[in-house]
Amino acid sequence: MIEIKGLSKSYKQKKVLDISSLEIPKGQSFGLVGNNGAGKTTLFSLLLDLIQPTTGQVLNNDVPVQSSESWKSFTSAFIDESFLIGYLTPEEYFYFIGELRNQNKADVDRLLSGFEDFFNGEILGVKKYLRDLSKGNQKKVGIVATLIGSPEVIILDEPFANLDPTTQIRLKKILKTLQEERETTVLISSHDLMHVTEVCERIVVLEKGEIVKDIKTNPQTLRELETFFSGEILNVEA
């Protein structure tokens, strides 16, 4: 589904991302972990053509992301608050995204009705603009909005951050359902190794812009990742 070839991004000769090749097949749930500055958000921004690569290209369903725009119709993403429109109410925002993805109000309502649990009564009908919601609730809106119109690729940057424990568990359930249906390719980045090993079948570790690990998730994965990240710290100290 997603194919990355010789992709790199440099700022003033400093390479922040350098991936010679990476392929993510359709339906895979893909986890991206790495410390701050490892290049996770840079990679996602490149996938969404929000920044220009220094070299290489990204193919999304065989569409070259940097030159065509037709990938937009089957891809959705939530990176940060800049994907929300602050002066809309949550409902208006969902309908707005729905209209962009050719879903009428009834379609959107049907989808939303499945997330009443997830919203926990704090999103729909609260009579507030998005900018006045708490960070966690904003995130809930952003995440659910990416599901509108059954996209084939969903990109979520740090979806677990700022969520309360109950919501984290519910989000994991949602992501697992997507994984079981095998229709949607889900890309997630996270600092939380436990969550990411639970919901992703494949985990890639980025360090200083390069892929240092590419693991098919198994019962030992969490342990392996923990050793890797703590080992890193030990190495620095040594």
Partner: protein
């Protein structure tokens, strides 16, 4: 302690994003400031003689009559534009400062605000002229002090007025009604206020009253502010209950309707955009300067078109030139969603067209000054729709200043106004139609001039799709730079 506050303030000033912009901008800003200072000073100094010559009355009396309206206008301006610097206060709260100190400091900081200082440039020259003309110094200075006290009274009223929209609008309504009544000579409130102001001049001891008013307003503002120095009170943004809006009647615009609906909400729900639209309404009256013959230099025939462009182009110039910055806070969303640039731009274009047509209809009161005058306005409207709407959207591609929708700061004079490319684009916006009209006017007469300008507008309209192709391409090439720039929040 005060020194610490002051250094904080100084740093926040010199390190602010807008100040760090290029040197050219700083110089231009400096010139702009000097220009306003000069204009005010000259007005202050010259108004004495102008009033004396034109009205054959005592200038001080005339100023006293106007003063009440001047003060009200000042208050309205402040309400719309001057903000209390609450944001900077939050980090100070947990530090060992007494709350009173923080509040005193914040209030005193407003004393130095531009909104207060600017008046000095009018009233001080005016008072100097009074002294030169032989008015008794003590009395004239007492009068000046009174004006200063009243200006500062306004300053402190604004501190608590800022919070209560309802009160503000009622006051505004009452004052507007009184103003109209005065204008039509039915009731004249200045009959009551002018003698009060005059009394201070005649008996300087009365100065105690405005001084007390100012002082007590300071105390009220202080108490009001201090009582609200909590994160969930005065320092929090107000939250009103809001309702979702349908606006499905706009669906007839087809694929455009998605954006049109959004743009209308954008304008309605954000302070910055509301202010802009209100300002654009003020443009409608700009033509009065030209068509009533108030100012001699504007008598030349070419100026009719100039006036017409502004009368009908208020929305175009004030809202249009900031496209796409209005969407800056969620530009990454717009760029990764299933959106066609053409639809997005088309929606903005329609907004501009609708607003231009509306203002042209409202401006029909210019018919009072003759058909010729209104014709100039209609022709300019055609040019605005046909040509300027495109140019403004085109220029927008180079505009890279993010807009903070929720704050009114910098509603005037964003640095982008001095962007070299947008500056260049003002040539076809203003000079070309003036040139076209002049060409027609001086070869045959006003009619040919009007035809030329209107023809240019119609041509622009005919080639709209072609022009939109070019604009869309420009937006695409500028996309990454724009995204990057919008990330730099102030």
């Amino acid at each position: 302690m005060l020194k610490l506050f002051l250094t904080l303030q100084w740093k926040s000033f010199i390190r602010s994003a807008s100040f760090n912009k290029n040197l050219v901008f700083k110089i231009l800003m400096g010139f702009a400031a000097l220009y306003f200072i000069a204009v005010f000073s000259i007005m202050g100094a010259a108004s004495y003689h102008i009033i004396e010559d034109q009205l054959q009355r005592n200038p001080l009396e005339v100023i006293n009559e106007i003063l009440i309206f001047y003060l009200v206008a000042d208050l309205v301006m402040r309400y719309l534009l001057q903000k209390m610097p609450v944001v900077n206060i939050k980090p100070l709260l947990p530090l060992p400062f007494s709350k009173s100190r923080i509040v005193h400091f914040s209030l005193w900081k407003t004393v130095l605000s531009f909104f207060n200082i600017i008046h000095a440039f009018f009233f001080i020259p005016f008072t100097i002229v009074l002294l030169v003309e032989g008015y008794p110094p003590v009395q004239a200075l007492a009068w000046l002090a009174m004006v200063a006290f009243l200006i500062y009274a306004n300053n402190f009223i604004n501190v608590f007025l800022n919070d209560v929209d309802a009160i503000f609008y009622t006051v505004l309504l009452i004052v507007a009604a009184l103003g109209l009544l005065t204008f039509y000579g039915i009731v004249d409130i200045s009959v009551y206020t002018a003698p009060a102001f005059m009394a201070v001049y005649e008996q300087p001891l009365w100065l105690i009253i405005p001084a007390l008013i100012c002082l007590s307003l300071y105390v009220i503002a202080f108490r009001y502010f201090k009582a609200r120095l909590y994160l969930d009170a005065g320092l929090s943004a107000k939250q009103k209950e809001v309702h979702s809006e349908d606006l499905s009647w706009l669906d007839r615009f087809g694929s455009l309707s998605v954006f049109l609906k959004n743009d209308i909400k954008l304008i309605k729900r954000n302070k910055r955009s509301r202010t802009t639209v209100l300002m654009s309404l003020a443009f409608i009256f700009y033509g009065l300067l030209f068509f009533t013959g108030g100012i001699e230099v504007y008598e030349g025939p070419v100026w009719r078109i100039f006036a017409g462009l502004f009368v009908t182009g208020g929305f175009l110039f004030s809202f249009g030139q900031f496209v796409p910055s209005w969407d800056s806070s969620y530009y990454p969303l717009m760029m990764s969603q299933n959106i066609r640039y053409r639809d997005y731009l088309n929606s903005k274009w329609w907004l501009i067209v609708i607003a231009t047509i509306l203002t042209t209809v409202i401006a029909s009161f210019y018919l009072y000054w003759g058909l010729e005058v209104y014709l100039a306005i209609v022709v300019s409207a055609i040019y605005n729709i046909g040509v300027n709407a495109h140019i403004v959207l085109w220029g927008g591609a180079y505009v890279k200043t993010p807009i903070d929708l929720t704050s009114n700061k910098k509603a005037f004079g964003d640095k982008q106004a001095f962007n070299a490319k947008t500056l260049l684009l003002t040539l076809p916006k203003l000079l070309l139609p003036l040139g076209l009209y002049a060409a027609g006017h001086y070869t045959q007469g006003p009619d040919l001039g009007y035809i030329f300008v209107a023809l240019a507008g119609v041509l622009g309209f005919v080639f709209k799709e072609k022009v939109f192709d070019i604009i869309t391409r420009v937006y695409k090439t500028e996309k990454y730079k724009t995204l990057h720039a919008y990330k730099q929040k102030n």
